[in-house]
Symmetry: C2
Subunit: 395 residues, 2 copies
């Protein structure tokens, strides 16, 4: 058996990885807005990207060069470099060419961006920023801060994984989320580093599999961005690997980051697990759970801390999955309010359900009673802060 221990250090926790973040002048308030991850040896690399058909220029650049190895990732906030066409890709080539001129050890550099759509990158600011980078800096906190947009705090996780027999490897990550989060990985960037000796061919399948129940199960607003990226760099420096342990750690790391993203959803005050069980199959459970986590009426009821179970029932019915009022059970935390046709919502029950809804994190459980399918989606409430943030985002 392996053990997984949380450690400090984010993307710099694994051996041989460096990172830093600086203020390059993209954010008008002077905050950090440009980061890098560097490894002193080439890393096997893979990424999973947004399902949006208008993938941003950095994604197209990655795919154009068919990247499977790199040791340098440049990341900027405040500008998504999306809907910028061929010119947007050329901008990346130019910036990364400049990086290679400055730092000859860089191989197959890639870029990742988040921010406003439809504006060309401020190339001069970014190339000037590159010149201030020290590739051997180990400032993961600064990097995690620099990639934030409307996030209210940086998001990092790292683990030391000890295998049976005592060998160990590390895995670390930073992510940004906040708005435009949805079941298909909306404007969410996540960079994972590891010194585990994972084979190149296994990186992408493991990333995809882990994404399904982690990043692809969380929702802030149901919108899918043009830039979502989860990228993993593996340098093999630990010499240790065991797939079960690695996948376990990867899933746990992505799950923790996904929950951090939901909890820090724009204006969100609660993280709610929508646990659907007893669905006809897993696919229907997923549809139903995501319908709940995305429903505006459910999200505003969460904000109002109102155990309005009728909206839960209505959303289940509207999701189109196989269901029946006579087999449905709805539970807030451990308080069952509707059980197979019976309304248990008396004054006492309502009070207990309302208590559950005052918590920062809790589960709303729907047992459909028609099969064995199960899926848990994670969502947050929608309040005035969300409106405020998104009505004024560009300004």
């Amino acid at each position: 058996m392996h053990t997984i221990t949380p450690i400090e250090g984010g993307v710099c926790a694994p051996k041989g990885f460096f990172a830093d973040g600086i203020a390059a002048g993209l954010k008008p308030n002077g905050a950090k807005d440009m980061a890098f991850i560097y490894a002193d040896t080439p890393c096997d690399t893979a990424a999973v990207f947004t399902a949006n058909r208008f993938q941003a220029a950095p994604i197209k650049h990655f795919q154009k060069h068919d990247i499977t190895r790199t040791n340098f990732v440049l990341i900027n906030a405040k500008n998504a470099n999306a809907m910028t066409g061929e010119a947007g890709i050329a901008d990346i080539e130019e910036i990364l060419h400049h990086a290679q001129t400055l730092f000859p050890a860089i191989e197959n550099p890639v870029m990742s961006s988040t921010g406003v759509i439809g504006v060309r990158l401020p190339k001069a600011k970014l190339t000037a920023g590159l010149e201030r980078f020290d590739l051997h800096a180990k400032n993961p906190d600064a990097a995690a801060e620099a990639i934030m947009t409307t996030d209210s705090y940086p998001k990092q996780v790292a683990f030391e994984v000890t295998l049976q027999g005592g060998r160990s490897f590390r895995i670390g990550a930073m992510a940004k989320g906040a708005g435009m989060i949805n079941p298909a990985m909306a404007t969410m960037l996540c960079f994972i580093t590891t010194d585990a000796a994972v084979a190149q061919a296994r990186i992408k399948p493991l990333l995809q599999q882990a994404a399904r129940t982690t990043f692809n199960a969380v929702s802030v607003d149901g919108d899918t961005s043009t830039n979502d990226t989860v990228m993993l760099l593996a340098n093999g420096a630990s010499g240790a690997y065991e797939e079960e342990a690695f996948f376990d750690a990867l899933k746990r790391l992505m799950h923790e980051l996904a929950l951090k993203i939901v909890a820090d959803g724009e204006g969100a005050s609660k993280c709610v697990a929508f646990e659907v069980t007893g669905a006809a199959d897993e696919a229907e459970a997923e549809i139903c759970a995501k319908a709940l986590s995305n429903s505006l009426l459910v999200k505003t009821a969460l904000y109002g801390e109102d155990p309005n179970w009728g909206r839960i029932a209505s959303t289940v019915g509207a999701s189109g999955v196989t269901c029946d009022p006579a087999t449905l059970t709805i539970t807030f935390g451990n308080v069952t309010v509707y059980d197979k046709g019976e309304i248990l919502f008396d004054e006492e029950t309502e009070k207990r359900a309302a208590e559950v809804m005052k918590r920062n994190a809790f589960a709303i459980r729907c047992h459909l009673g028609v099969g064995e399918g199960a899926f848990t989606a994670y969502g947050c409430d929608l309040g005035h802060e969300y409106v405020k943030i998104n009505a004024d985002y560009r300004t």
Copy 2:
């Protein structure tokens, strides 16, 4: 050719129809909350209902009795009689039986409800209310007011349709909408009366066809309620009919009511037409237009009067339809901001687009440039009022 002239009178405009609304004590503030429509001869009747799998008791009651003729519709607000099982249907039977005892002229009475889900109807209040009804009252305004929930004003439309040769018929309607409105007719009730001599067999197909581009094309929050109903009662009293003219008037009436519902969406300040053209086919145009009208990021940008065309583009891309940045054109009103790969969003253009967004009603046009499919969906902005209304709805 026929002519269609707007007239007063709502559901009482056609010959032989009566309606009224009273305060029966369901709304705690003493507002009107119970209404009826009555006709002095039996009417051919049909209805289209919500796609929600948990259809409310009044819908099940209608279907159970396979209603094709009625002359009495009882409507209440504040209680949806949904998720109430067999008991909810029995409550309706009991209330309507009482109505028939009071008014022997009533045949096959039906009921329609809107309000909170999961609470049994207050039968005593409703039967007491029935006793105060005067079936020959003609107070369409009172009826339209009584069916409101979070609507801020009553919604009525009526037309006189004059056929070639001078014969004429009338069609009138009242509706309630406000929240929980979505492409599948969320908590929206609409009652249409006509003295046109339309054949029973034609009512439902015409209603369904007209719903697709009217009620089913509008969205306030993407949630589908358990109670949505569009019902048409035709008494044939005018003796006149011509299908083309009737369908024309029906569509126009439903379109006008649909737009009233969007414009009065919870907290909405704008009604926006999302016109998608050049899609691969009509189905893809509809998917794309509805994705735009339902996107939280688009809706909050509307609220902020921010011509954030990147969110429009991103939502088109995320909708999953066939599209390409190189063939897409995005226009706010008449201001094109993105044209087939070219970003036209300079300071002057942004200013003009921002002017468009200050209007109460305007169009956002996306030409996908990949085919001939077209569809227009109607949506509204989402602001603080929506959050306020929905966080506190039950209380």
